[in-house]
């Protein structure tokens, strides 16, 4: 019972703070979730244009835990396949527990135009469990992304998730889906030192502004540091490493009120181009 109350309380507070933005979209493995211009990493439901920067086909799994509560965790799987015509990716995520859960499925297509820019579109389907009688209701919506390589060292990313502000409605209620506009940039101070900055605006929530750095200390080890503001300041720390075809990433967001958010992911590259 205590646990249930605890979950409800945290849900209420975090719903208020995150205003549903973070509940339905899994975080990415880029530090501070600054993924929109990130040409080196791609995760489920991040900017679809960045699919085209993945050189190898592969698949992976991500586990995101909020505030050390299993019930607030999001599990995601993703896979991608580069082809000569268009690069493709599949994403799926599950958030919640038996009584309440959200499922997000997506298929994305992207194309890189001579390394000058890349365009991507992802078709997502979001389904929410409305109880034993109605069960699942869902809606299809697009996600559009663009990444402009303005110079070899600098690129600008844009992404919009659910641009038409579609919602899931039952006879009794409306579940509002997040509609997010993101704009960000990536700058390579050096090949092993990357800066990223991003502004996100969920249409009914606060602005989110973040900055982050990736520093590849050793060939197999990258340290990540970042922070974002969302009405409060959240500092973020992460590590990523790779062994052969495997790459691992772990990010920790230190929320000033609610505590730790952990994002761990593993990816396996099927082939090296």
């Amino acid at each position: 019972m205590n646990k249930l109350i605890q979950i409800i309380l945290v849900l209420l507070i975090s719903t208020n703070i995150f205003s549903q933005l973070s509940l339905s979209i899994p975080e990415t493995n880029t530090i501070a979730n600054l993924n929109v211009a990130d040409t080196r990493n791609w995760s489920a439901f991040s900017n679809p244009s960045n699919i085209s920067y993945l050189k190898n086909s592969g698949f992976g799994f991500q586990y995101e835990n909020r505030f050390l509560l299993n019930e607030l965790s999001t599990k995601s799987i993703f896979a991608n396949l580069p082809t000569t015509l268009v690069d493709m990716a599949l994403s799926a995520s599950y958030f919640g527990y038996n009584q309440y859960n959200e499922i997000l499925l997506g298929i994305g297509f992207a194309r890189n135009f001579s390394e000058k820019f890349s365009l991507g579109v992802q078709f997502n389907y979001s389904a929410t469990y409305f109880g034993p009688e109605i069960k699942y209701l869902g809606v299809l919506f697009p996600q559009i992304g663009l990444n402009l390589k303005l110079s070899p060292k600098f690129n600008l990313g844009f992404s919009t998730f659910n641009p038409f502000q579609q919602n899931i409605s039952s006879n009794f209620s409306i579940k509002r889906l997040a509609s997010v506009f993101s704009l960000g940039c990536e700058y390579f101070f050096a090949d092993n030192f990357v800066f990223r900055s991003q502004i996100d605006k969920e249409i009914s929530s606060n602005y989110k502004f973040g900055v982050g750095f990736d520093y590849t200390m050793l060939n197999f080890l990258t340290v990540k540091l970042g922070a974002y503001t969302y009405g409060y300041l959240v500092s973020c720390l992460g590590l990523s490493t790779n062994f052969g075809s495997f790459s691992f990433s772990y990010n920790a967001d230190f929320h000033p009120i609610l505590g730790l958010v952990s994002i761990a992911s593993v990816r396996y590259d099927l082939q090296k181009k």
């Binding site: 919009t160 502004i199 249409i203």
Partner: protein, 679 residues
């Protein structure tokens, strides 16, 4: 090697789409202009003029100042420099010589290219034969249909417990226009315009056909006759203190462009139902003297009562019974003349316009409108001049009305070195000066009750960089609407333009404005006058690659009112355009997010539209807007445009618009379609 690179650059620039260039110019000039004026801007005529120039480019070797003035993005100093270069070196042999002309940077040259060519020196206007009309004449038919998907309140029946009342709007929700234009190398032009606004009746018991009809004919350069116009036309003379029905140059990021252009009589082919004359006029050339005379006689809209009216109804909307009652109720006759004497470095002009209304205009008198025009006769006389001395260009106009109230505007442009151009402009418009057709450099929409000093500078400090800056301080010496006493204001702009390559350019724009307005304090009998400040910063990036082009824009503003807390606005947008290689199809997509807390934080962002249908919509509240714009050439002669736009508001209000235009809900969808046939 250098020549090869230059040739490549120029070829690619020349291949640019004229439409894109014109659209960008309109966006640059009018986004800010829209912000500063409450009046509807007639982009249609403006676009038409530039498009006509693109179709009939200016010959650099035979062009006059008048020809270059059609290119509104060129400053007066730049025009002088081009003319001076052509005069000094005899003939311009190649388009690349434009780089040698002082004050023209690569951005200017790129803009000029679609509108000019190099021709042989001293070509005279050839005679026109009947066979030329068939052989060289270009006909254009345009059909446009618009429809808002959500029905506005005015289209719905009003159902109450006791009765069901008919919809307020008498017609359908479709907007519809049909136009025909004929153009023979800008020598002979005629056309017809028909229009029905959404809500106006088209076919019912009382109405058969369109609500608005307009016809024009214009002949240029036939013998001594420079221009002959018949039907609907516009007149523009001097600096606009007496008459300027076309667009006047106001404050914009083209900081040096303060002198109005395109003087003379011009055909009228737009759908604005107020701002034009209906009659005839001509300009005759006697060597150095050009003489113009025109006469107009037309009915205008007004709410008449007891053989008088309180104001002119300018919207041209006749959707409801009450709006229809205002239609064509007042007769307006206008007689005007202009004389211009031109020497190589000097020009002087005299303009006289007399207006006669068949009934009196009588305002309900308040302090702010005490000096507004009333009565049924108005006469204005203006003297304008322009003088070029070395690196100075001095210009101005002084005008009087029938009460001998004065308006004057005088300025000087100076270019000490080729990288720096400066302009200073002083204006004084007496509170009792009024002209029904005046349109000149001003802060407010009327040429009255204002004095101010404007200085602007354009600096090319380094290669690829341009700095544009202006400062304008002004004073309204008499109360004006919304301000119960004399008031002052300041307006500053700083813009940095950076064009790294042919395919990438960006700018940063900072603007600061301080104005005064009423503050209603319930504890005091009189309104206080307090200042309001608005600061905004904008970043825009345009990037093209192959057939793709992208535009990113971000703007943030803050408004500080005396009475309320500081409010902010933020908008960001992403444009993607693609022109297909193998099929004649062009697609433009936009997604825009906006968050403007208050009306004062509103944004104006240019968006692509159908041909001639420019829109710079005003956006505020919180939400997103997207559009899809498609142009498809069915054949060489036939083209189709289609636009779908959607605005979704995400704040708590479930209403869009007000009055009869009110929409219940948070979504507004609009469809537009246009068909063009050229033969």
């Amino acid at each position: 090697m250098i020549v090869s690179v230059l040739v490549l650059v120029f070829i690619s620039v020349k291949a640019q789409d004229n439409t894109s260039t014109i659209e960008q110019i309109i966006a640059d000039i009018f986004e800010q202009y829209s912000e500063d004026t409450d009046e509807e801007i007639d982009f249609e005529s403006f676009y038409d003029e530039l498009k006509t120039v693109a179709e009939n480019p200016i010959d650099l070797n035979n062009a006059t100042r008048e020809n270059f003035e059609k290119l509104v993005f060129l400053s007066d100093m730049q025009i002088e420099n081009i003319l001076s270069y052509a005069y000094s070196f005899g003939t311009i042999n190649t388009i690349y010589e434009l780089q040698l002309i002082n004050g023209l940077d690569m951005t200017d040259i790129r803009r000029i290219l679609p509108f000019v060519y190099i021709g042989a020196k001293n070509i005279e206007y050839p005679k026109i034969y009947w066979s030329d009309i068939k052989r060289y004449g270009r006909n254009e038919i345009l059909y446009r249909l618009d429809r808002g998907i959500e029905l506005r309140k005015g289209f719905k029946e009003n159902i109450t417990e006791s009765e069901i009342t008919k919809p307020k709007y008498l017609g359908s929700a479709f907007y519809n226009s049909l136009k025909y234009h004929f153009n023979l190398k800008e020598r002979i032009m005629f056309g017809l315009t028909m229009e029905k606004d959404a809500g106006e009746a088209f076919l019912n018991q009382a109405k058969k056909g369109y609500d608005f009809y307009s016809m024009y004919g214009q002949i240029n350069n036939v013998g001594r006759f420079k221009t002959i116009v018949v039907g609907d036309f516009r007149a523009n003379f001097g600096m606009g203190l007496v008459i300027r029905q076309g667009l006047s140059m106001g404050k914009s990021s083209y900081v040096l462009n303060v002198i109005p252009r395109n003087s003379g009589l011009k055909k009228y082919s737009s759908t604005d139902e107020y701002n034009f004359f209906r009659g005839t006029g001509c300009t005759i050339s006697f060597g150095k003297v050009n003489a113009t005379a025109f006469y107009s006689n037309r009915m205008i809209d007004a709410d008449t009562l007891n053989n008088s009216f309180t104001s002119i109804y300018k919207t041209g909307l006749h959707r409801t019974e009450s709006e229809l009652l205002k239609k064509g109720t007042v007769n307006k006759q206008v007689l005007g003349t202009n004389l211009i004497y031109t020497l190589s470095n000097f020009q002087i002009g005299l303009t006289l316009v007399h207006t006669l209304l068949n009934i009196n205009l009588k305002h309900e008198i308040y302090p702010y409108n005490l000096y507004y025009f009333s009565g049924n006769k108005q006469t204005n006389l203006g003297l304008n001049y322009r003088l070029r001395m070395h690196k100075f260009n001095v210009f101005g106009e002084t005008a009087l009305n029938q009460d001998l109230a004065k308006a004057t505007i005088n300025g000087v442009m100076y270019s000490p070195v080729s990288q720096v151009s400066l302009v200073a402009l002083y204006r004084y418009y007496a509170p009792d000066y009024n002209s029904l057709y005046a349109n000149s450099f001003s802060e407010s929409s009327s040429i009255s009750n204002e004095k101010g000093f404007y200085i602007g500078a354009e600096i090319l400090p380094f290669k690829k960089w341009k700095i544009s800056v202006y400062s304008d301080s002004y004073k309204f010496t008499w109360p004006k609407f919304g301000v119960d006493g004399p008031s002052i204001g300041q307006d500053y702009l700083l813009q940095l333009d950076y064009a790294t390559r042919r395919d990438l350019n960006m700018y940063w724009r900072i603007r600061y404005e301080q104005k005064e307005k009423n503050y209603l304090n319930e504890n005091q009998a009189l309104n206080e006058i307090v200042s309001t400040t608005k600061a905004s910063i904008r970043y825009q990036l345009v990037y093209t690659y192959g057939n793709f082009s992208f535009k990113n824009l971000m703007e943030y503003n803050v408004v500080q009112n005396y009475s309320t807390a500081m409010t902010y606005g933020f908008t960001a947008l992403q444009d993607i355009s693609y022109r297909f290689r193998k099929i004649p199809l062009k697609i433009d997509l936009r997604y825009q997010f906006f968050d403007a807390q208050a009306y004062e934080n509103r944004f104006y962002t240019y968006e692509k539209d159908l041909l001639y249908a420019f829109s710079i919509p005003m956006i505020y509240r919180t939400g997103s807007r997207m559009y899809l714009n498609i142009k498809y050439d069915l054949t060489r002669n036939m083209s189709l445009w289609f636009k779908y736009a959607q605005t979704i508001y995400s704040d708590d209000k479930n209403i869009i618009g007000s009055g009869n235009d009110e929409i219940i809900g948070n979504r507004k969808n609009d469809l537009r379609f246009m068909f063009r046939y050229e033969f």
